[in-house]
């Protein structure tokens, strides 16, 4: 097994193009499980952990650019303005995992249970891909095409995630059978966007990829009193929102949970998240 240790992004992209079978590794928290269990034997590793340009974040003209190699620990510490992102980051594994696992790795692995992905979906984020030749932005829903499948090209690396900053409350929640260290049985991210009077609801672990529950979103957007933050939503409307959210899921039975429970959990989480974001909106006003 070879190992390549680039120090700059340009170097990394060169190596990526020259050795397409070298597996890129940043935090290693997904890849090394497969290597340790003998399920993966990459002919070479492309170690991205030294590329400083892949770490950190910036804000420009209302757009956030979060670089792919930023760890969940750093996100939880520095991106406090993005509450759902922080909540999702804090829910990832343990401190040990959060100190290594990166948002880019989470996206690249593309598990439907990846904790960062529902947040990116709710933010309508773009995945920024780079190769030696070009840089392109792919909307999240075009990037993920199946469980652990993306449209990344063999000569590309994920360099960052970008989204338009939304001034509004949001929330992330995920269900597991114990109180820590769980792969989500079901997860959601809800984000209100008062400026466009829209609602975003992303669902994780309940479909082959993370999905947006668009019917539930439309319903909530029309039911919410956008002009009057103090006005609560009728209980029947919250209930309907939950039902539509659950209908937006297409879960399976697996070793972690049943499809029926997953649908149920989505319904409950969606209702709660709606309450919380509307409460937060009322309090902020």
């Amino acid at each position: 097994m070879d190992a390549f240790l680039p120090r700059t992004l340009a170097e990394a992209l060169e190596l990526r193009a020259a050795h397409p079978d070298a597996v890129p590794v940043a935090g290693g928290t997904d890849l090394m499980v497969a290597v340790n269990f003998g399920r993966a034997r990459p002919p070479a590793l492309l170690d991205l952990s030294r590329v400083e340009e892949l770490r950190g974040w910036s804000r420009e003209n209302g757009r956030i650019h979060l670089r792919a190699g930023t760890t969940f620990a750093r996100i939880a510490l520095e991106l406090r303005a993005f509450r759902p992102l922080v909540e999702a980051s804090r829910s990832v594994g343990s401190p040990q995992i959060r100190n290594r696992a990166t948002i880019g790795g989470n996206v690249c692995t593309a598990s439907p249970a990846g904790d960062g992905i529902p947040v990116l979906a709710a933010y309508d984020a773009d995945i920024v891909l780079a190769s030696g030749a070009r840089e392109r932005r792919v909307p999240w829903h075009e990037f993920f095409v199946g469980p652990k499948r993306t449209i990344i090209e063999p000569d590309e690396l994920i360099v960052g995630l970008e989204w338009r900053e939304i001034a509004g409350p949001g929330s992330f929640a995920k269900v597991g059978t114990r109180n820590a260290m769980v792969i989500a049985i079901a997860g959601i991210c809800l984000q209100l966007d008062p400026e466009s009077r829209s609602v975003r609801l992303a669902l994780g672990s309940v479909a082959p990829t993370v999905v947006r529950a668009t019917e539930a979103e439309r319903f909530a957007a029309s039911a919410i009193s956008w002009d009057d933050p103090a006005r609560p939503l009728a209980a029947a409307d919250v209930a309907e929102f939950g039902r539509l959210a659950a209908a937006g899921a297409s879960p399976i039975d697996d070793v972690r949970g049943s499809a029926a429970y997953r649908r149920h959990a989505v319904e409950v989480l969606a209702q709660r998240a709606l309450h919380w974001t509307l409460d937060d909106r009322r309090v902020a006003a």
Binding site: F37, A173, K174, G176, R178, N179, V182, A260, V268
Partner: protein, 768 residues
């Protein structure tokens, strides 16, 4: 040396003496079996069956043998001696020969220069299987047309207990209950491992993690075609066991590779292999009926109990017997029928796990007692107090409970413990809600519930076993005062046994400096297994006896040269069960009660255990800190079975053989545990002690699930109670038809009637 120094010794019995093996454990120097290494050692890897039931048509080892770094590839044909082993019956192949009977069964061995090379070569071993019909359901296994796991049929043992007249007793009220428990894994943090070093005399030196050195040797030697003296077993550091190290794991395998290659061989399982490499807790199905008078006096109990033993016997015959004798609970019931069966299936083998059959039946009898209380309109605690056994009670086996049995006090003190204060539902740290780090709650739909359970089990081995323990104590004079050393083959795997033994020596001989020497078969005779909550009594008794002999010898002379005494401690004799399940099968009993307070998010079905109050009948507490540590750890293990632990099987294959999907409690799942001990000395026991290790695990599961029932109003009759059960998406487990009673020649395990070769019983009988 003067015995009047006894009163001034520190860290003697009754004190929370620091662990004598503690320092290397915190510095990282403690050598566990998986840490061992020697120059030029080879790594061994096991090839395992992917099928639950298949004929082995052919094994091709050519490619593997030619792989880089490979020193040997072995199959069943290479087993030098006896082809099978087993704790009770030698029905388990060292390596599968004609057929495989469970997913994970060892089929071939590879030794290579590096672990990576061994793993690579293992994937190159090609085995041609012809699938055979399999039976993976314990009720199915009883059907006459079920595929036979072994030629003689699927019933391994059936226990029949008949006491009084349960069929004609006068009863005012009957209740019927049905309960299930899943397959649980011991999940000791330290996976299996060890080192086998070939010796110049043709023998083998083993350094392994195990629970009983001598019974290992007894099984290993015949398989290697060696006399026992040529198999020398030394204990390496054990990272927990809880029953999973009672059976052989890598011992014969590593030895075979070492003898073939004439080089040291190390085998160390990873977590996934560990799940396949040891026995699990028997899943159970229990039909239980209680009959009582209207004022709450138990008149009759009728229990049908079915355990899934998996593909090989392990210690299943003892587990079903134990479980059957405890099935009606720690209550005076004049009329009892218990029918307990353990069957073979093509599921992974089950055997010893902390509690040894008692957790399963305790889950059922405590659930049933709550049902009865509800039916009678009597407070569930009052119902238990009214029926609790005491010293002098006659148990369902006809055994008179001769030892201490402060059951009423245990129950009363448990329920008297202050309940945790009510907590505000809103405004907490999000991580303190059920669901913890998932951020799923701001205090919605929280319900508290309180549940209670009392249970009991035996101390030491039963049904006529003489699991004696030997120990040697030596005292030598030095310039700085006398130093004592203890030589024992007893295994320490974390519970603090060696510390206790040192405390005994300090108190008895007034010597501060005490050392416990490495445990090996060459220096010691058997101390018996570290299991069955027996070692404080048995090895403690042996050390005490040796100390007393030293005291007598030094009564009127000074210590001017080393003095050594060896003592073998035997517990009192017990008997087998007769054709009605009557006898005097158990040495002694210990009782425990727990009260669990849970907080349930009833919409999501998520649980936070708020507090467990535990009271245990300990006889005498020799190390308070160590004893509470055992109760706390045992409670967490029982809590795991209550809400999250389950080996999930599909066609006999474990679907969740990893810590990602086999969930054990994290620190965020573990509640504050408040512990008290009732100390009524056990007569005839050293210092009046009883064992501690298992009881908390026995009662924690039913206490937590009872609390969940109280919080949700649901008839949760299955452990674990998952979120689906708690929200009601899945209803209670269906009882179906009561399992039919098999036709058996008697109370013994079937292989015994067929003369199929004994295991640890031989060791016991040989010592008489």
């Amino acid at each position: 040396m003067s015995t009047t120094r006894v009163t001034s010794v520190r860290d003697g019995i009754g004190e929370s003496a620091r662990r004598i093996d503690g320092v290397p454990k915190v510095t990282g120097d403690y050598a566990y079996a998986s840490d061992l290494r020697v120059e030029r050692m080879l790594w061994g890897v096991t090839v395992r069956s992917p099928h639950a039931s298949a004929r082995i048509a052919a094994i091709d080892i050519q490619a593997a043998a030619g792989s880089p770094g490979v020193a040997a590839v072995l199959t069943a044909a290479d087993v030098p001696g006896r082809k099978t082993f087993g704790l009770e019956f030698c029905d388990q192949p060292v390596l599968a020969e004609d057929v495989v009977r469970y997913v994970g069964e060892p089929v071939a061995l590879v030794a290579a220069e590096t672990l990576e090379q061994a793993r690579q070569a293992a994937t190159a071993v090609t085995v041609e299987y012809e699938l055979l019909p399999s039976v993976t359901d314990m009720a199915e296994a009883l059907r006459p047309d079920a595929p036979r796991v072994h030629a003689f049929g699927n019933v391994l043992r059936h226990i029949h207990i008949l006491h009084g007249e349960p069929d004609t007793a006068e009863v005012d009220v009957w209740i019927d209950g049905y309960y299930e428990t899943a397959m649980q894994d011991q999940a000791a943090l330290g996976p299996e491992g060890g080192l086998a070093v070939p010796a110049a005399d043709g023998g083998i030196d083993l350094y392994i993690a195990t629970q009983w050195l001598h019974v290992d040797r007894q099984q290993i030697a015949p398989c290697l075609g060696l006399p026992e003296e040529k198999v020398r077993v030394t204990l390496a550091g054990v990272g927990g066991a809880f029953g999973s190290r009672e059976d052989l794991h890598m011992q014969v395998h590593a030895s075979m590779l070492a003898l073939r290659t004439r080089r040291a061989v190390k085998i160390a399982y990873g977590r996934e292999e560990s799940f396949h490499g040891h026995v699990h807790r028997h899943p159970s199905r229990i039909w239980i009926r209680y009959g009582a008078t209207r004022d709450g006096r138990l008149v009759a109990a009728d229990v049908r109990l079915l355990l899934d033993g998996g593909a090989y016997a392990s210690s299943s015959p003892a587990v079903i017997s134990n479980a059957s004798t405890f099935a009606p609970g720690p209550y005076e019931v004049p009329n009892v029928r218990v029918e307990g069966t353990v069957v073979y299936t093509n599921n992974p083998p089950c055997g010893a796990m902390r509690g040894f059959g008692a957790p399963q039946v305790c889950f059922a009898h405590e659930g049933a007692m709550d049902q009865l209380a509800a039916e009678l309109g009597i407070d569930p605690i009052e119902l238990r107090l009214r029926n609790a056994v005491r010293t002098g009670s006659v148990l369902p086996t006809g055994q008179v409970l001769a030892g201490s049995a402060p059951v009423r006090e245990v129950i009363e003190r448990c329920v008297a413990m202050p309940l945790p204060e009510e907590e505000p539902t809103a405004g907490r740290d999000p991580i303190s809600y059920p669901g913890g780090a998932g951020n799923v709650s701001r205090g919605e739909s929280l319900q508290r519930g309180v549940g209670f359970a009392v249970g009991y089990k035996n101390i030491a081995y039963s049904e006529g076993f003489d699991d004696a323990a030997e120990a040697t104590v030596t005292v030598r004079p030095t310039a700085d005062g006398p130093v004592a050393s203890i030589r024992t083959a007893a295994v320490e795997y974390g519970q603090g046994l060696y510390t206790i033994l040192a405390q005994i020596v300090r108190t008895e001989l007034g010597v501060d400096e005490v050392v416990v020497e490495p445990a090996t078969t060459t220096e010691n005779d058997s101390a018996g297994s570290t299991s069955a909550s027996r070692q404080t009594t048995m090895s403690g008794g042996a050390v005490l006896g040796a100390c007393q002999e030293i005291k007598r010898a030094l009564a009127d002379r000074p210590l001017d040269e080393p003095i050594s005494r060896t003592f073998t401690y035997h517990h009192r004799k017990t008997t087998e069960l007769d054709e009605h399940g009557q006898g005097d099968p158990h040495v002694a009993f210990a009782f425990a009660a727990e009260r669990a307070v849970v907080e349930v998010d009833v919409e999501l079905g998520l649980v936070r255990v708020v507090q467990v109050a535990a009271v245990q009948d300990a006889g005498r507490v020799l190390n308070p800190q160590g004893a509470t540590g055992q109760v706390e750890g045992g409670t967490a293990m029982g809590l795991g079975l209550a809400v999250m632990e389950e080996i999930q099987l599909a066609e006999g294959a474990i679907r969740n053989a990893s810590f990602t999907d086999y969930l054990i409690p994290t620190i965020l799942d573990a509640p504050p545990i408040v512990t008290e001990f009732v100390e009524v000395p056990e007569p005839d026991a050293p210092f009046g002690v009883k064992g501690i290790g298992e009881l908390a695990t026995v009662v924690a599961t039913p206490a937590v699930v009872a609390a969940l029932r109280a919080a949700t109003g649901r008839a949760l009759n299955r452990a674990p109670a998952t979120p689906e059960d708690i929200v009601g998406l899945r209803g209670p487990a269906e009882s179906g038809e009561r399992a039919p009673i098999p036709n058996v020649p008697g109370q013994k395990a079937i292989p015994e009637y067929l003369g199929l070769g004994l295991g640890q019983q031989e060791l016991m009988k040989a010592r008489e």
